[in-house]
Symmetry: D2
Subunit: 438 residues, 4 copies
């Protein structure tokens, strides 16, 4: 994990980080330049020797890239792409990279775009798949979202594999979050049970950057850039009134990376509240007292809160969304009410401006950094599938593109390590430790 976004120590590594294959690769690749990556090329998991568990050897991950021999005969290979869950900058870039790589460099016979997530596999919904060609994807990277559409929630694994068999799909590319990766695992199980030869490759996607063993998820950098813009506005509003408070809510259900990272980008934020670092609202060391001191000293304050922060102060809603996620309580609403009451008591005639950039951080086109990243993810996904790899995801780790077992990314959630120097830097940039007494 990069030091500038340190997170909780990775969960204990499973013993086996080997990638499953459908069978021996035999067909020679036809790469025109560059070099093939040998199948035994691997990179170290840990860069910091002190993190290697138990003094044992440094575990390794399989390096991604084109293989000298491939498993599928391109002329007979049909691929499919499906995009699931919430939007994220760069999905179209991944789709485009898969299509261009599959068509131009492997010359596969077809790439099918499944509409509206897993629904698109189920005929009853009536979502006709799209045939994706270099022509149809030529300009899609200039647009946010996904040209395939998306949806949430599970569908029958049997019917999904029925679809794949009926359409003669050899390689399935699944772009989605951890729920989707679990669905991909179940598809693998069904594929194995039927003894059919279908490679299933995941490309993990989450705007919250909370996927284990993925240094930074694609689109996250773009989202931080947009969140930073919202915070800049909140800062301007806070400066614009006596005792002005700018309150910004950003995405981050269980991991506050967007909040933390955008606070670091601007360094004009006074409080960052994230799910990983619980805080009190009342009392001497509570948020309201700290905010009051800050207002009295500087005349204004900017507060950034991740949507999942401070949930202990809210009654559990009990509701779930279609993806099965618990609906979060409204922390921003609570803070506004508490601030209003507290400031009235304190006799501070404050002005609070609330900004929720919501979907505006995720529906935009990817910035150039994410474009490049998504391009490599898509290309490497095709290399992996064509080589007959399956039940794996493409990821970037320690600066290298790697193959990881699907199970690795779904066994936990990446969070901010509140004891890390990363979080310390955030606290230093806000100065909130002085107030919270942390």
């Amino acid at each position: 994990m990069p030091q500038d976004m340190t997170c909780l120590p990775p969960p204990e590594l499973p013993q086996d980080l080997q990638i499953s294959v459908l069978g021996p690769a035999k067909i020679p690749s036809d790469l025109r330049c560059g070099r093939f990556i040998p199948d035994d090329a691997r990179i170290y998991v840990y860069v910091d020797p002190s993190q290697v568990p138990g003094g044992g050897p440094n575990p390794t991950l399989e390096m991604a890239g084109p293989r000298e021999r491939i498993y599928f005969d391109p002329t007979k290979t049909r691929c499919a792409i499906v995009t699931c869950g919430g939007l994220c900058p760069g999905i179209n870039d991944v789709i485009r990279a898969i299509v261009l790589e599959a068509h131009h460099n492997y010359k596969v016979s077809s790439v099918l775009g499944i509409r509206y997530g897993l629904e698109g596999f189920i005929e009853d919904y009536g979502h006709t798949p799209l045939e994706l060609t270099p022509q149809t994807v030529a300009n899609i990277h200039e647009f946010g979202g996904t040209i395939l559409g998306s949806s949430r929630g599970p569908q029958s694994v049997e019917r999904i594999v029925d679809f794949l068999e009926r359409r003669n799909i050899s390689c399935l590319f699944v772009i989605g979050g951890d729920g989707t990766m679990r669905a991909a695992s179940r598809i693998v199980e069904e594929v194995n049970a039927r003894k059919v030869k279908i490679a299933v490759i995941g490309i993990p996607k989450t705007i919250d950057n909370d996927i284990n063993f993925v240094s930074q998820t694609f689109g996250f950098d773009t989202a931080v850039g947009k969140a930073t813009g919202a915070i800049r506005c909140a800062h301007v509003e806070a400066l614009g009134a006596p005792f002005g408070i700018g309150l910004v809510k950003v995405m981050g259900r269980e991991s506050g990376f967007i909040a933390a990272q955008s606070a670091l980008a601007l360094r004009d934020v006074d409080f960052v509240l994230v799910p990983e670092d619980p805080f009190e609202i009342h009392g001497e060391r509570g948020f309201l007292a700290a905010l009051t001191r800050r207002l009295r000293r500087r005349g204004h304050a900017v507060v950034v809160v991740a949507e999942g922060a401070g949930q202990k102060h809210l009654q559990a809603t009990g509701e779930k969304d279609p993806s099965g996620n618990v609906r979060l309580g409204d922390i921003a609403g609570l803070l506004m009410a508490e601030i209003a009451a507290h400031m009235k008591n304190e006799g501070i005639d404050h002005t609070l401006k609330y900004i929720d950039p919501s979907y505006m951080v995720r529906s935009v086109p990817a910035n150039s950094n994410d474009c490049i990243y998504c391009g490599f993810l898509g290309q490497n996904a095709v290399h992996a599938a064509m080589a007959g790899k399956t039940a794996m995801v493409v990821s970037k780790w320690n600066g290298y593109y790697v193959h990881m077992p699907l199970t690795l990314v779904t066994q936990g959630r990446k969070k901010i390590d509140v004891c890390s120097n990363y979080w310390r830097s955030v606290l230093e940039s806000t100065g909130q430790h002085v107030y919270f007494g942390g």
Copy 2:
């Protein structure tokens, strides 16, 4: 009024469009180039002959610009600037232009920046004024908001004029909305009653573009650009899910110009709801039925609603904000609840994404178009004040910078004329007339 933003016919013009002066101007200006504007230079109010009332002569407005003779001796002139009400892109540009013009071209002795709106005149608040020099304003145009801070609500007119007398201010520049312009009028009355020589010049500011006899308020163009970005995101989100609905709320308490204009900029919007054009929610010709038809036909829909639209469907809150404006009911919340219930009835498994760009459309720096506009407003305000004009605002009308009596801009509110070709163009761009049957 420009045809691409036609509004209700202007209220009947008062008989006297003459500008008050403090006395005869005597001191020669010292312009190094260009030409002076003669004091009797005027432009026509109406460009469309059919709008001239009663077949009479076309009324005229005084042209703004530098005068050959000025009233105040620059070396003894002290100016003050105050910014009131909500933020708007370009306030800092106006401040900067006033300071640069006053210092560089008239060489006045001082420009004072009043902090936090009218509060800054009242000593009890403890807001010390800033001395504004070309140095202090050098970079402020790169930032949104107002470096002076702002506040809402009235203050004692007597104490304001006390301040002006005590500080020996000759020219007061007031940047604010219609409430502020009414306060400026009362300051003029008090100034007149005391028989002191203080020029009071208003620069009308409103993000809603709802000021009479101002073709387009400064900052509005920037705000529309930002609102367009929010709508683009809503469009992406709507396309990203089966039966996806993107709902965007934008500013516009009584006039829906931001909603209408940004819909025209993108032309991917399906419904624009504004205060000026009442709509039904239920029934065959209601919004829900129209939305349902649109969803069934196109699979997705984008709805833009001005905050003040559809208030008849909401219980009056009775509350008022510090500026005295009635707190609006939550039309977006109502629409979301109604849509959820209706779609459930219709058996449409929709996905609604709500975006409220809120202050993000107004706290940003001005775009180049607004920068230029604000620069001219500030310069012309100084020209007017130095010439001894008072009780007036600087505005742009028919492409010319003009002087208007303060009373002219406060006697009503500019609104979209729903019978105009402007509104027809909006309706054509959305196609909602087909559905509403309008």
Copy 3:
């Protein structure tokens, strides 16, 4: 002409500002809302009474907009669009607006997109026209340039009209500069000579904003925004070195509007050199002496030069480009050489950074302001053509969309009036009059 971009007094108006028509309009329009514009609705040419020539009546121009009766039967109407000359932000927006208006509101049978300018009419080039539908133009406004492609230079008028007849085109929309408008005039003559009924409507396009009787050409605002960004970089570079000079060249062959306007937008520029205001390079009142004084006083300087400025100091190249424009001498190169020699003489160890944003100001998508403008231009062009108007252009004048005879816009070139308050404001913002002694 708007006061904030005053230009030379318009050339003497021709006596006849009436618009030609193909014949009486008979078929009723089918507008669903809004109101029709009566055929005799006109607006005043002059807003400033002092500009009306000879004390006569204020001349008027025909107002654009939908007519109650139209000339062409939509179901039998085939349209064609052609884009000529250099790129400009917003061309795709105009195309899209024409296609959407023609299809959705008039339901014409076909809109043909001619490829690569006038070449597209000549079969030998092999450019197959595109059939344009709402589907094909859905996203084109998100891209700069023209989806049709463009080219420069004339083609046989006979063969163009042959094409129109063969393809059964009733309405031809020509988007281009003054050369193109002259070509459109010749097409009209040939059409008239053949006594066929084809409406020819021009939409004037020029990045230099130099078309007579067009307040501001579409795309100009976007270009100024981009040029401003380049100047901001030059300012940063100039500040970054001892005696730093930032030199920016922008478009502007005969009219320096981009240079002047972007200097006003940023107000951090020290010298603006435009074709309209000749300057000396050497001597006490020359550019080099002024630059040296500025450098000595402020330590840095920013110079913006329009490509057509100072041509008297350069040997005529004698060459012409494919549009027949004389190739300009390299003023930026000359200035750099002269500055280097002069500073060496003066013993100033300067650092000069040269920035030429070139095509980057014109190949970008239109900003929201230009999007709206282009949308209205396209719609009004369709209204005019369907009503049987011909030999005219759609323009915006005094805030109104109007019809003007084709001949009006081609009889001269709009330039900055160096005696105007507009140019004075530029000079005040740079302070160069103090140095040039102007």
Copy 4:
């Protein structure tokens, strides 16, 4: 090195990667949160086991971060910052981070900003240093460039150290390129010879991203984003004319990273020419033949050329700039002349549009990604200096902030490895290998 920007294998590592210290650190730090980094914390140099030279142990680098004991007594510590060489996005962010960290977290007594690079140390130039406080740096990150100014070329090392002694500076922070890092080494030697206790910390800066053992230099990501915008314009221009060619020149004297990376970001580029991969202009496998084939097949082409590419085709200029770099030949000019001649021969009536974004890619403010990066670089530089480290640079390697001996980064230049998968990806994205036959 990250796999998505693979470069030539690092030069053989010197045996000693230990960091010099001024003496034992004894004063306890006063960090309020987070954890200290032990002085023996190190990270592996190689992530790919196959790169470890000679089967030996994986060499390690010292981890950056706050130390439990520091060397300098903050209350008596005076720091100085100097910025040298060309501009780069993020310099102001690094300055701001150093000032905020030194003031807020260590409470040093003073931070001095040296004006205009090494010139600022030499009194004869008359550049008075700036006292930098949290107040003076509050908003500087919103601006490109360096608030300190910069200059090129060497100055007397003796006089520099004289300055440091006279001003009682304990910690010197040097932001600059490889020439500057060599100057820093010489300053260290002089400091050592005088046996004074001054920590010298380098923060490597180069827009070309060509510094050894720095994964990616700060500002590079921002520059790529801007270069991508220029290429997008070239693509639009190329599409806009029959046989349209868009030619873009970007920075990259000896390393073509900006060219390669921005081509990957957009993936609409047809040819990328970099210094590392020589090419022929003429002949069957030459650039002109390849370009012609591409034009014939696709009708347009986009060419991106790094300024240092193809120098073998140009006569050596022999000239040097003030930094001692050889002035490069004008490859873009050569290509344009050659293309014009060749296309005339081939009978292709092409249109070439040339775009040189030049300084516009480097004078802009840092994007959020670079802001965060620069913030950490500045903070870690202060941690290192306060701990008494010297003769080192702060860098990021394998995702960790590390200390490296100054000598390590100056012993060679990072270049694109043309045998790498990174370059292969570029070639695949352009398809030029098919044409060049590479």
